[in-house]
Symmetry: C3
Subunit: 351 residues, 3 copies
């Protein structure tokens, strides 16, 4: 692949010989001859120049080099395009395996893949170019859009709906019962969970994620949101657009998370909480039940506080041991002074 | 369905026309004509009356209304019964799919469902009316009671035992090895995990739950207990009756949890801990190894403390920044006073 | 089985009749006649002697007893060998089930088990005596060493590599995409994850574990490491040798964990953190991004601090309520003294 073609692909400005031959992408740490690498800041230019790399993707405005460079707005995005070019994701062929089981009244176009031992229940519909891999299970009335990829061993319960270009990794479970029980005598009566899950376009769900169906209505993940492995999303939760939810986060029932939020790893969110738009919640934070986090803020701690406040508290906690001894000294000073004053008074009285 | 029939179903007192026609259940937020809704407190009566709802389930003692009402002890329980009536859970037919594999010496009555590509190993027994869905796997000698529902893709290892009316959601793994290793030279030797898991009647397990088999003896979940998604229960743990364990809780080896407890989301419990009966443990709590939590108490924090104490500590932590500056002022006051006194003394000495 | 044979098996010194007949292993709490039990310390000798047990495994140097004993270096290791002897793990027969699907160009020796409905994609290789159970899925080019056991329902994505004697429990997902996205306009662009996962010899992975493939290069778990259920290991992480990772731990991208570490339950580790060798991280700890934990240390808390420091802080937090009231008293004392001194001064002025 010639370098000028690559410059066009990633919408960048080429500095250097257009017909430089690129054979693959490389790693900044140890690229080989023929490979193209990227740097995210001009600061790394020197490091990049002394490697074997054939060419370098650089941020706009980076100085010229002896090596050919392509200036782009966002080197990471450009590199993503180049990686896709040289190392496209392997995809199974668009055909239905003869061991796949398809129920009655399903709407399935020809250009889909349905893998070995997949089970599609009655009344399902699948969009064009979608891939449902081995051992996956779709319950009754499941609707899946076009361009989706469902990796092996995913389970989607009845009535759930997926948009277009949704990716779901292995072991994810969509539409299991919400956790709803009502004390009834000595034990609990199950509250039926008759809603569903709706996952909008361009959502990606990690391995072993679980998203529960709503009690009534829908649990909803809005378009462009990306969810990491082992995340739990409870019944009737609504997650906004283009939000990132990192691994092992748990969101309890009926909570709302806004657009463009970031929930870092292992965050826990209580029932009926509201996270407004553009909020960042730090790793392992705990958001209490019904709490509202304000838009454009960053939060830390369990229970959460605004970042600045919590960072100060964390620092002060670290100073507690020193502080306690300072306090003791002060108490002692005080007592000595009291004694001294009392002694003074007594002496004055005597005199 | 006539309203008087519904009143009988949920053991309630009807106020209004017995032959009012009910077509479905509705949501308090936005019910349609023909639908019945519920309120959990008389406070919501005004809100409920101005909706389109056809009738209202109300707590006993709620005032009459222009709309027909049914007075019941617990509106949520009544509503659960009505939802089940109008929207029963879809169930697969009671038959064995021709792709299901059944081992030798299994005891399987006629009125069960065994789904496509399910694998039942040798010497298993399954009770009447139980449902084992697609892609599920039962190891050797697994015993499952009657009326159970095992959703698609559940794995039960050999020798494990399930009671009656047990529900297990997709991706759950029952009876995997406990985490037991013993340092042996440079590395670890595996301690064989030859016990099993026993799950008693009326237990429900969420999606992707894992319950490990005991080293010796049994890991046991007692009757009526409900466990949410992605919970981890380690080897030799014993969980009591009618306990609720919310999502992502982890219980380490050989711990005991009593009856009627609530463990909120993401709680972690160390090895050999004891949670007595009727204990509530707040979200994200950490219960140290061998710690005992006393019955009828509520606990918060990591490490846990009794709620009242921990709530005070959380509040005081929030006051630390203000407190540190107050302390500094006090120290300064003190030093000034000392100086003043010393000055006084010196002046006295002079005079 | 005669006792002298057992003594040889566990490399111990027999005290008592060599031909004592042992029928099984027992539990210290309640062993039956014919059973052999173990104690981990001479302190339990008295307790062990009054049971029905036929013989006792004891640590070297424990006093003789009326019951036959076998002195060993590590009674737990000896007991593990005895349990394996009397209760060997059930293993499926070494054959390929007729419903297993094997792709093209696979290298599969005769002495392996491939279970029902397992799917092996093209170009896979599997070593001697390995067991791949029902419903498992291997993507293209997966390499699995000899003596491995892959329990039912495990998914291994394309290009991943497992060493020898690797055990993976049900529901584990190896090689799913790392969580990598780059802001691009209003939404996110996916960074392709074209690396793989390498799992070295003698590693065990618990149920529903997820290990993501690297962006470039490899996510790597080194030999002898044991990972408990529901652990999440992100892209490009490297975990050293003989490390124990307890349930529900999450390790974020590009972090390194050393050899012989212990990460207790629910620990969270931020991106690019480094845990040196022989480090113990307490349950629920949070290790901040890029933080380095020093070798041979124990850490507690979130954010983590060295154990001694954090234990003191936890204790002082518990004293905060008492401390705040002590502080108020001190403030009051101070104010009174100030008043008194001012009064003195005023009186002096008057006089």
């Amino acid at each position: 692949m010639k370098l000028d073609k690559i410059a066009i692909l990633c919408n960048g400005r080429l500095n250097g010989k257009p017909d430089t031959e690129i054979t693959s992408f490389g790693n900044l740490m140890n690229p080989k001859k023929g490979e193209i690498i990227y740097i995210i800041s001009p600061d790394y230019m020197e490091k990049a120049e002394i490697t074997e790399a054939e060419a370098i993707i650089v941020p706009e405005g980076t100085r010229k080099s002896k090596k050919p460079t392509i200036e782009v707005k966002n080197p990471r995005v450009a590199f993503a395009l180049i990686v896709e070019l040289f190392s496209p994701e392997p995809k199974p062929e668009l055909s239905v395996h003869n061991t796949a089981l398809i129920g009655k009244n399903c709407s399935i176009p020809k250009n889909v893949h349905i893998g070995p031992y997949a089970v599609i229940s009655d009344n399902c519909s699948i969009g064009e170019n979608s891939i449902i891999e081995a051992h996956s299970f779709l319950g009754k009335n499941v609707k899946i859009g076009s361009g989706c990829r469902i990796f092996p061993g995913v389970t989607v319960y009845y009535n759930c709906v997926l948009g277009n270009n949704v990716r779901i990794h292995s072991g994810a479970v969509i539409g299991s019962d919400g956790f709803g029980y009502e004390k009834d005598g000595a034990g609990y009566r199950k509250i039926p969970q008759v809603g569903n899950v709706i996952i909008e376009n361009d959502v990606e769900l990690g391995a072993n994620v679980t998203i529960d169906r709503a009690t009534l209505g829908s649990t909803r993940i809005k378009s462009g949101t990306k969810i990491d492995n082992l995340v739990m999303i409870a019944h009737n939760v609504e997650v906004g657009k283009n939000t990132l939810i990192i691994s092992q986060v748990g969101i309890a029932g009926s909570s709302k998370v806004g657009d463009n939020c970031i929930l870092a790893g292992q965050v826990g969110i209580g029932n009926y909480a509201v996270i407004e738009d553009n909020v960042t919640v730090g790793a392992q934070c705990g958001v209490p039940m019904k709490k509202r986090l304000r838009s454009n803020e960053v939060y830390l701690g369990s229970p959460v506080r605004k970042m600045k406040e919590m960072a100060e508290i964390f620092a002060l906690e670290g100073m507690l041991p020193r502080f306690f001894s300072k306090f003791k000294r002060l108490r002692k000073d005080m007592d000595e002074m009291k004694n001294q004053i009392e002694t003074d008074i007594r002496e004055k009285d005597k005199s």
